[in-house]
Symmetry: D2
Subunit: 147 residues, 4 copies
């Protein structure tokens, strides 16, 4: 992780469970998506930047390691997020999903590619966005099972 990752709490939904009564693996990706959207909203606001908080990105790659079953409850999960890599046209988010009492349920990494909205082609990360991402720079995601 990093010294002080950004943390965000996301409510679970009963419907996130599958017929095995676990939070379904697909819904972990839904939680990560929600964390990205809400983190960016906070990060952008905190940056004092004045232009639009919308950075047009595509999810280029995502990897999730499921560490322990996650069960539905009324308490939110806590997602820690940081930025393990900032490239020219893409960057990675790292995440740790934990229960409200601190048990790690999953590690994950998402590679996001910045898109030029007019051409739909990859584009350089704008300087303002790069500065925001650098505030959250951190270590590689400590996957144990990566092939």
């Amino acid at each position: 992780m990093t010294a002080s990752p950004f943390t965000i709490d996301i409510q679970l939904r009963w419907g996130d469970m599958d017929s095995l009564a676990h939070v379904n693996n697909v819904q972990f990706a839904r939680l990560l998506e929600e964390a990205r959207v809400r983190a960016w909203h906070v990060w952008f606001s905190d940056s004092g930047a004045e232009d639009s908080p919308t950075l047009p990105i595509l999810v280029a790659r995502q990897e999730i390691e499921f560490v322990a079953p996650l069960y539905y409850g009324v308490e939110p999960v806590r997602i820690e997020m940081w930025v393990p890599r900032i490239g020219t046209k893409s960057f990675d988010y790292g995440y740790r999903i934990a229960t409200h009492d601190g048990q790690i349920a999953a590690l994950a990494e998402t590679t996001c590619t910045v898109i030029d909205p007019s051409s739909g082609r990859p584009a350089a990360i704008p300087e303002g966005s790069r500065a925001i991402l650098e505030d959250y720079a951190g270590d590689e995601v400590p996957f144990r099972r990566r092939r």
Copy 2:
């Protein structure tokens, strides 16, 4: 891939799209889950095995590389599946998701761990299941962006 991967057609749903009017990245994981369930159903039936087709597994890891945007349409997507790795207590599924006219939308890999239902602990892949998996053995998933 492999010489002759298993292919399965899955209907898209209009609701798989997100507000960017693409099939949402989370729903790719839903399509992979459906492919696994349906593949196993076919693979088990084709094997002539008589016992239950339920192999108790947990998804331990999943990686998806998004190659091109996928748009909703009434034609199903075609998912090619194979088995790039068979270990002692776990194995990997490889996938290629393509549009009905053959454009690749994503590559993916899922690591599944076999579970002993009585203990909830990882267990050896049963011999009957191993034989089924071996029928679909194939190459590593040709990810281009793996870190």
Copy 3:
């Protein structure tokens, strides 16, 4: 119902089940949405109309009566659809959702309001669309539990 309702087959997904191992009530609404999209696609094509098949509508009301539990299987569900009411600016879809062997799982009705895309306000049903809807006119949905 009606003499000859329109029928459409929709694949279930394993993930449609909730932790009670039934197809979740929320996912019935997802199946209805998919039936509407696919029905309109077919109805419009069959009509010989040349302009866009997109009728801009909002779902104004929906009522679902759950008749019997629906279980996941690899066979699709069959949805029968018809049009019990055509008003000036809105119309109703009626549906019967059945298992592939004919057991009724649900009855439903959706009120759709046609929208003028430029103003966002309700608008008269265009004549071409009205003619399509009239081809599928049918009886009221035979709800048993309506209050």
Copy 4:
């Protein structure tokens, strides 16, 4: 409504939006489900009852009237809930879904049937559960478009 309905705040998710950039009508049913689960959790705890908070029910009917489009935001929606009807073996929940600044987005009603878990057949509402429901008794849902 009722003099003082129970209120519960539910986080929206970016993925609740559909390709029209509204919270999708299907996801309203997901929000209602979550409100039911969380309300029952609170209601049961507040009742001082000591036995299990699980009342085995099936959703028998649901009606939603969509009053105004709902847009995603980081603020939760507020759902007001009450109990417009308590019968022998079934009861109704009424709901009002509003944005965090008080704009009504939908009205809804769910008929729940209590189930005997051993037989799967409808059963009388247990006295403890009936007492809880009576604490939240309220008026009929003021649908404007009911047919």
